[in-house]
Amino acid sequence: MNAMIRWGLIILMTGLLAACAQPKRDLTEAERLAAETAAAEAEAADRARREAEARGIGVDRDLRADPLDDPQSLLADRLVYFDFDRDTVRPEFIPMLEAHSRYLSQNPGARLRLEGHTDERGTREYNLALGERRAQSVRRIMTLNGARDTQLEVISYGEEMPVAFTQTEESWARNRRVELVYEVRR
């Protein structure tokens, strides 16, 4: 391998590693990307709607099934999982959060509770705060994607409400979560 390419790769890898190792509060890049994607998608949806309307095809919202109940929809996903002692939303959860944000922006009456949880590794009060920080990360992404602040309520349960009860990495991973709970659906 050519030395230049090798160095290039090393620098690239170091950059990637540094990006992975970024401190937990640094959400800006993910947020910016999420916001851009959401804006582009909203624009595309808007264009499609206008084109459909131009062709005389109206969408009757009342006759449509509630998309929240559609198991095929991204809206069926209501769980965001986190790394240990981190509050950064991993990229794989962004599309799902965008879908919920879109739903909220289209249904101004809808209300969503963001319930933050942690695993048991940490002191209880610290975990209560960490759970809140996770729910706040989710809220930030959702407001950047069109959900209104008033539609979102952040709650933390810390480690008090686990869903998995064994002391294993699998259980801990399932417990480190934010649950999206619709209080009002539309």
Binding site: R25, G122, T123, E125, A129, I155, Q167
Partner: protein, 429 residues
């Protein structure tokens, strides 16, 4: 205090199984010191009709053994107890291996029982003291704890804490329908009483300095809020229900203020609430997590947990609002500090490769000593005499309480027969 060879030894001894409620605790000493001091506690004679309502000598003996510093001499080996202090014959007690002797009797009177007892130093051939404690008949068990406190102090020179109580959170029921209770029991786990039941989690109980109230966090309204609960009357009021989390209540030593962690302005910071007026003063201002405040005994310093430097660590701040100074540097994290009654050390939860363990920080020398070897040892609380620390632990995934002597040598566990127990708080004396 006598100094002896301090090798650690292990034994399993079931000491107490009493009562009927679900959250009764069974106390087991799992590790003590070799050369525990042999004490003879002769049965206390009941000088009334029928038989004694409580075996006071048994309760006293069990308490002393539970401290890890004493062993008791089996009743079958006891010589005939002298009827009064004048009949004490040191040789007789030295012959059965006793270094100290406790004799006593119970004198029922009109509305009370008089517990009369004497403590002897067998090796020095002298009486250390004679005492009389009047108690209502139904409180004989409490009286026995008081006797234990006095015997402990006579022999070690340090106050006993057997008559203090412990509050803790009980959890029962299947994993999808858990029930949470706030419990108060004697220091030996006896006489448990449920103060509050909820289908939602309860957290962080702490006693007021006068022992009349508990504060705790309840999720009964589907979010964290701080409540105050009168232990005798059962009256309760909500102290903090601000937007965000309301957590980690800690009573000031003068009982007039409550430190707490609130995220009302976005991130959790430490606040102090005047209990008379409800007025709040913000103590820390960071964008990090600041929580788990604990007061120095003089009320001038707050210790708290913060992750302002990346990982959770313990800091101290001189009040009203000085600069925060970091205190912990060992392990990957530190939190949930509890201050020794003399104010000279902190016991806290240290995170590391092995899990969460209790460590003691000497505030003067800054030396750190690991006290426990569990993987989930959390929520430490100092006994009011500073001799022991009670904490939450787990046994095969089940929540139990542990206690460890200040030097880390004596270990015991307190487990509920059914369900889990956690977050213990030792009452003041």
């Amino acid at each position: 205090m006598k100094h002896r060879s301090l090798q650690v030894w292990l034994f399993g001894l079931l000491l107490l199984v009493t009562g009927q409620a679900a959250a009764v605790l069974e106390v087991t000493v799992t590790e003590g010191v070799t050369g525990a001091i042999p004490v003879a506690v002769t049965p206390f004679a009941w000088e009334g009709a029928g038989s004694a309502p409580e075996d006071v000598a048994q309760i006293v003996g069990a308490n002393l053994v539970r401290s890890g510093l004493f062993q008791t001499i089996g009743r079958e080996r006891l010589a005939r107890a002298p009827t009064g202090p004048d009949d004490f014959l040191a040789e007789q007690w030295a012959a059965v291996g006793a270094e100290y002797l406790v004799i006593g009797r119970l004198l029922p009177e009109a509305e009370r029982v008089l517990i009369e007892f004497h403590v002897f130093d067998v090796l020095a051939n002298q009486r250390l003291g004679g005492f009389r404690i009047p108690v209502p008949p139904e409180m004989l068990r409490r009286g026995a704890h008081r006797v234990s406190d006095i015997v402990y102090e006579q022999i070690t020179g340090e106050k006993g804490a057997f008559s203090a109580r412990i509050a803790y959170v009980g959890v029962t029921g299947p994993t999808d329908d858990r029930r949470f209770t706030l419990e108060v029991a004697d220091s030996d786990g006896a006489n448990p009483r449920t103060l509050f039941r909820s289908s939602q989690p309860l957290m962080s109980p702490e006693w007021s300095p006068d022992g009349r109230h508990l504060v705790y966090v309840s999720f009964e309204n589907r979010r964290s809020e701080i409540f105050r609960h009168n232990v005798e009357s059962g009256a309760r009021d909500r102290l903090a229900s601000f937007p965000g989390i309301n957590s980690a209540p800690s009573w000031s030593p003068d009982g007039r203020r409550l430190a707490m962690s609130l995220s009302r302005d976005g991130t959790p910071n430490i606040y102090i609430m005047e209990l008379d007026t409800g007025a709040l003063t913000q103590v820390t201002r960071s964008n990090a997590i600041d929580t788990e405040p604990a007061w120095s005994p003089d009320g001038e310093i707050l210790y708290f947990t913060s992750d302002r430097a990346g990982s959770a660590q313990i800091y101290q701040m001189r009040l009203p609002a000085g600069t925060a100074q970091r205190l912990t540097f060992e392990g990957s994290s530190a939190g949930a500090a509890t201050v020794s009654p003399d104010g000279k050390s902190l016991v806290y939860v240290q995170g590391g490769e092995g899990g969460l363990r209790l460590a003691r920080l000497d505030l003067e020398t800054r030396r750190v000593t690991l006290l426990t070897r569990g993987r989930y040892d959390k929520s430490p609380s100092f006994a009011p005499n500073g001799s022991m620390i009670i904490y939450s632990s787990t046994d095969r995934g089940r929540g139990i309480l542990g206690s460890v002597s200040r030097d880390g040598r004596v270990h015991q566990r307190l487990a509920a027969r059914t369900g889990e127990v956690r977050e213990p708080a030792w009452s003041p004396l």
